[in-house]
Symmetry: C2
Subunit: 406 residues, 2 copies
């Protein structure tokens, strides 16, 4: 089944934000056995939206739009989709009550404009928005399906998984087998080299990598009418070859896995960060319930704070410098001593853009884990700009924590 994605918003056209929604929708739809045909991005402009709908419907039966469901005058998506189908929008009183309730709960103040968010085409399926005021809509007429989703990814994501994919899948007759893997600590090229023989042997099976910073997500699918046995054989070989790098499927992030493992083992973690500046702690705190396992996080940017807070020895700092194996080790041990945690993690490095030298270039990061009386230190050279280096260092140490805890 062919699907097109229509993104509506001046902010995307003008390069103010990257179109990550199109990426997420594509990845999810392709992974659910739909064929994504085109992405189109248009401005908040009636003429352009109508032209886009007409153009895309020449090629596909389903268009998923994102954006333009807000309360303001430039939010036009539903109105124009209704116009395209020669229908009117009518007030869905129940939905209006839900929006009012949302405001009540979040103690925000509802404006008159918000009422327009409760208008839909008669007979449309409404997609509840758990994280905002803009419900989505699915409407179908004469074999053409329109799906309207809000722009903010946090609002769009649950609607996509819970509403859109189940709805569209009922209409999709293509039979598919699918398995997802999340890999860490391996580059895309290396992984490709390792699985080349499998891809050659099972040429009917599609193996797609999605690489992001520190993580590669794989999806293995069969073509339309797939051979089940062959599919499971291919997956088994894939798992065998890449077993050292697979951390699970796509359902859990590395921070969720780490928090889960710490909980299961009743361990308490403390984190001492220098160049990452709280990013490791903050990433762990993203996980609900992390308070149970996180004893303390501390950002010791200055040497003074490293000495005072963590008991790093002044002589170590003097002799080896703040970015060194020795200081990383003392920080990890120190944060255990000062916090009473079972596991101590530390990171010290040069995130740049300045502060690098020939001997210690930008991107050099030392990290350490202290657990059961042993301290392991890691030396890495990460590439990218300041914030990519910080992110890579964060993801790396979470992966090492995972390995030790597992």
């Amino acid at each position: 089944m062919k699907v097109a994605i229509l993104t509506i918003g001046d902010e995307v056209i003008e390069g103010k934000i990257v179109n990550t929604n199109a990426e997420l929708l594509s990845k999810t739809l392709e992974g659910s056995n739909f064929h994504v045909s085109m992405h189109l991005v248009v401005r908040d402009d009636e003429k352009d939206i109508l032209a886009g709908l007409s153009f895309l419907y020449q090629d596909v039966d389903v268009i998923v739009t994102t954006g333009g469901l807000g309360p303001t005058a430039d939010d036009l998506t539903k109105e124009i989709c209704a116009k395209y189908f020669q229908e009117d929008l009518i007030l869905f009183p129940e939905e209006y009550e839900k929006i009012k309730l949302y405001f009540l709960k979040s103690k925000g103040s509802i404006t008159e404009n918000n009422q327009k968010q409760a208008y839909f085409i008669k007979g449309a399926t409404v997609l509840d928005n758990m994280n905002g005021t803009a419900p989505g809509m699915i409407y179908e007429k004469a074999g053409k399906v329109i799906v309207n989703l809000p722009g903010p990814p946090k609002e769009l994501e649950p609607m996509l998984y819970q509403g859109v994919i189940p709805y569209l899948s009922k209409k999709n007759n293509d039979q598919i087998y699918r398995k997802q893997y999340r890999l860490m600590n391996i580059g895309e090229s290396d992984a490709e080299t390792m699985i080349k023989p499998i891809m050659k042997k099972y040429s009917q099976i599609k193996v797609s990598p999605y690489a992001s910073v520190g993580v590669i997500d794989y999806i293995i699918t069969t073509p339309n009418i797939g051979d089940k046995t062959m599919f499971y054989e291919a997956c088994e070989e894939f798992e065998c070859v890449l077993k050292d790098f697979i951390i699970g499927d796509w359902s859990k992030s590395i921070q969720e896995i780490v928090v889960q493992l710490l909980k299961a083992k009743s361990l308490k973690l403390a984190v001492a960060e220098s160049c990452t500046g709280g990013l490791v702690t903050s990433t762990l705190v993203e996980v609900p319930g992390s308070s149970e396992v996180l004893k303390e996080g501390i950002v010791t940017y200055s040497n003074e704070a490293k000495v005072m807070r963590l008991g790093v020895k002044e002589i170590t700092l003097k002799q080896y410098g703040a970015v060194s194996k020795q200081v990383a080790a003392e920080m990890a041990k120190g944060v255990i001593n000062s916090s009473g945690a079972n596991i101590g993690v530390s990171i010290t490095g040069i995130a740049g853009p300045s502060g690098g030298s020939l001997e210690k270039p930008v991107g050099l990061v030392y990290s350490a884990i202290c657990f059961n009386g042993k301290t392991i230190v890691f030396e890495n050279y990460f590439n990218g700009d300041r914030n990519k280096i910080r992110l890579r260092a964060t993801i790396h140490i979470l992966y090492e924590l995972y390995k030790i805890l597992k």
Copy 2:
């Protein structure tokens, strides 16, 4: 002058990579006085590329393509553009020599396929590629301009700045006035209500809001042939009405402004975080040079850590609870005392999803700033999920810091 961007590549359509090229091109073109009209992404497919060209040229005179200039069979861009213009590709021998030289320099081995990268439409302008083997092409016929750029951003970027913008600017007669504003501490609906009279009065001037968590970016532009006086009048009225919320233009984030203000005043900051779990510190550390102004960050998730690290009184915790005005104030004072900073910032709240009560619901956040012997405490109810609450709390306290420092 209206421009459309046509991205060609299965990897973008399938969600394997994010379309950052479209973002870069849009930003650069919009910033150089062009009006970007649409982005279209199609697969490496002749029929789709031709359909895309025809559709986009209905609306614009210039199409910039990215991708599909490589040496392999699925790289079709130049061939299909030539076909669209009913022209042939011919070998440009000089360009072939340059490609050979590139291989010689980079010690790679040239393949027969690479010869195809030296084929262009007769009369076309070639854009040299300093970082790869695929030159770009600009071709013009009957008032329609096509620009072909390679997919890899490293190769595309220099061609865009050095070749494309200068070429197109010679053809651009549009005079556009543009001004950008960044607003904080106001919702999109409230801002719209406030500026409604201005938008009505200056109906020819376009006012576009781009809302993200805690921030609204506005851009005010005139249409193609704009009235300069009217434009500046409209901007003045906009600034007047929203002056309490404007923090600057789009060039700086709130964390950059805060770090800059701290540097200018030679102040040192220390941060004590509970529910935000390091997000405030980590956001500040995104800014290069933040080490100069950030004395220390500390995540005191447990009551124990609040007492031990920050000197919060046990009786205060017992009497008012960890999420209270009193504890926020003691945390902010405590982090100054223990770190020796000039300004102390604290956050304590309930990020959820659990831990809320009728009296203290999920989303309740107390934050405090201690400066010059005074402590100000803020009470907020933020909506959204765990991480949105954490982000809103972070952005809010950075904004309050900005107000105090300014």
